[in-house]
């Protein structure tokens, strides 16, 4: 198998799930003829027809509402947000209705909400966001944020097959920048499981999505200085794989969290709390955060570069922590 891009991996997952299961439909803005703003749904219309590839008006609440209604009759809709920033437009529909259904009235909503997220491509303040933490605070949702083509495909398949509403964040910086050979067989990557990307003993670096690659780059540089960092890819933020995190920190005794989301209220804070509660005596240093600035995502390349974490920032913070 030739290596495929992150984007192609997601498209393959949609294609294979739709081919195998007529319950799966796709709904969103410009998803049919145009194939979506980033072409993730390209080719689906030709294969599956108008009934299963559904264009909508610019109405995010209607997209989520309709997907939810479809799921109540046993379908498994995959709803696209043209940019994940627009998910704020249907916040109420998702958090107050879809997410609460199973707990309140025994109404599971097996649906996926997917869309391109993240910065680094000069998309500006309304096309670069990482809004995952708005939803991490909502019981009933699951949140997936992959970093590799293999994971993107396997996690998308698992998300479609899950009986709960899953928010699937696709970092647009990764869409066409990374390639990977992936197996031809039907596999899934289970939700709620982190993975150790690089083993190490001096400190643990937790990350996800595009920042996972930044963290690995920093880990290579650290290795040259004799610092052996363990890098963990969270993959699913909700539910969070506490076991893998704790296991690693109990081994390395130090933890650095790297995320592209802004600092205040980012998942690093939640992880700090978990480590305080469950691994306090194992820690030989403070939990350190390398994140974006607490500002909107700025447009100019110089500003965006200052806003985002990068390998150098991770390297500096990790080295300091290692020597703490």
């Amino acid at each position: 198998m030739a290596p495929i891009t992150f984007l192609e991996a997601i498209r393959q997952a949609l294609f294979e799930e739709m081919a195998a299961d007529p319950r799966v439909v796709v709904i969103g803005e410009d998803v049919s003829v145009y194939g979506g703003a980033f072409k993730v749904t390209e080719g689906l219309l030709e294969k599956f027809g108008w009934e299963r590839v559904i264009d909508t008006p610019i109405s995010e609440s209607a997209i989520i509402g309709a997907a939810c209604g479809m799921s109540y009759l046993g379908l498994r809709p995959v709803a696209e947000m043209q940019f994940i920033d627009f998910i704020a437009c249907c916040f109420n529909q998702l958090t107050n209705f879809v997410a609460k259904g199973h707990y309140l009235w025994n109404a599971p909503a097996p649906m996926v909400v997917r869309g391109p997220s993240g910065g680094g491509v000069h998309g500006g303040p309304f096309h670069s966001a990482n809004p995952e933490m708005y939803f991490l605070h909502t019981p009933g949702l699951k949140i997936v944020y992959p970093s590799t083509p293999y994971d993107a495909k396997g996690l998308m398949k698992a998300s479609i097959r899950d009986n709960n509403p899953v928010l699937f964040f696709e970092h647009k910086f990764l869409y066409r920048r990374i390639k990977e050979e992936i197996p031809a067989d039907d596999y899934i990557v289970p939700l709620g499981k982190a993975v150790v990307r690089r083993e190490g003993k001096h400190l643990t670096i937790l990350s996800y999505a595009a920042m996972m690659h930044t963290s690995l780059e920093a880990a290579d540089a650290l290795a040259k200085e004799g610092i052996d960092a363990e890098v963990i890819d969270l993959r699913t933020l909700l539910p969070l794989d506490e076991e893998t995190i704790l296991q690693s920190v109990k081994k390395t005794n130090k933890c650095l969290v790297v995320h592209e989301d802004t600092k205040t209220g980012g998942i690093a804070g939640e992880i700090a709390a978990i480590l305080s509660e469950k691994a306090f005596h194992d820690l030989d240093g403070p939990l350190v955060r390398v994140t974006s600035l607490d500002t909107p995502v700025p447009y100019a390349p110089t500003l965006e570069e200052a806003f985002l974490p990068n390998a150098q920032k991770v390297f500096t913070a990790a080295r300091e922590l290692a020597h703490f």
Binding site: F48, W50, S59, Y72, G74, N106, P110, N163
Partner: protein
Amino acid sequence: MPATETRSKAKLSRQQYLDLYYFMRLNREVEETMTKLFRQNKIVGGLYSSLGQEAISVGTAYALEKRDWLAPMIRNIGALLVKGVPPRDIFTQHMAKFTSPTQGKDGTSHFGDLDNLHIVSPISMLGDLIPVMAGVAMAGRYLGQKIVALTWIGDGGSSTGVFHEGLNFAAVQKAALVLVLENNQWAYSTPVRRQVPIENLADRAKAYGIASYIVDGNDVVAVYTAAKEAVDSARAGNGPVLIEVKTFRRRGHAQHDPAEYVPANEREYWEKRDPIMLYEKFLTDEKLLDAKSKKEIETKITALLEKEREFAENSPMPPPELAAKGVYCTGPECHDLQPKWERPIAELQPPKSSTKNSWPPYVPRADFGVPASPIQFVPAEVLASSNGAKAATASAVSAKVVAKPSMKQLKKSSANSTAASKKPAKKGAR
């Protein structure tokens, strides 16, 4: 159309007329029982009354078939009863009992039943259920089920953004959705004239290119007749229908609200138009109801509610450990989610579509109009075989007026309850 016409068109059997009466009475008695429970401090949260609006919940839900779906608002208890919800479910919900449909996790009429009764639970943020029910209708069409989805919105809720998103999308999709807009004149304490600058909310249908009705919401036969036409039309594939029912919220927003802001003459006007009183007079005049059968119905309701209330009162509160349970579906052992296919799955599996990946060519028109959607939502053979195919394709641009209330009409109806209005009222009867 005048009420006299709708009544002759209704063609209900005596039993159906009496069903409507039974459910309206049951609706009111269930709420009366809850008012007593509320005063005894046995209702945990708020209590929202539909006093004077029973004809709407009952008349619209009665137009649905068993397979159809509904999504009520908090005041549509009558619709739940018609759909088959036992009164005990409503009592236990309000009393937060473990035996309630949500086991005490939510109150009031906030519960649903996806498997049997096809009820989608209400949400307090009004309007959200409109796109949800559009999705229900679309999924039903995809599965070949020929269902109709019906939901309600108030004059207040009609100002939400999601009302527009949902109704517009449903209209574009030609989804089998019936939206009943209960104009009860008040959104909490704000009168409708301070919410919208138009007299008839049904006029909004024109903007969505869908059919609409304006109905006297206190005339159950008029409500039923319009709803039945709308349901048949939606089922036949003609797209959504908006029914504006004019009525009045006789109590406050909830029990805590004495609604002193309502002008006395407005209340007086509508109290004289009590839907149950009007319907009783109609049934008596038409010799459909006599003292004996009325007594039988009352006895039946009293006995039923006594039993149901006792069940609710004797039910336990949920155990505290339930609070932490049930956020996620844990998989097939929790819910085995299989749709009910009513079309050959071979049409879809394996996929053999080879849809052309392009929009149809542009056809210039002198009036700048656009060609119709290329998407065939309902297979032609399904349309042809549909029972409702011949049902009224209500005009997409003008609301049909079904017995719009007026003082003149009130005088007439007190003189002769069958002659509500010989001609439609001026406004909205274009």
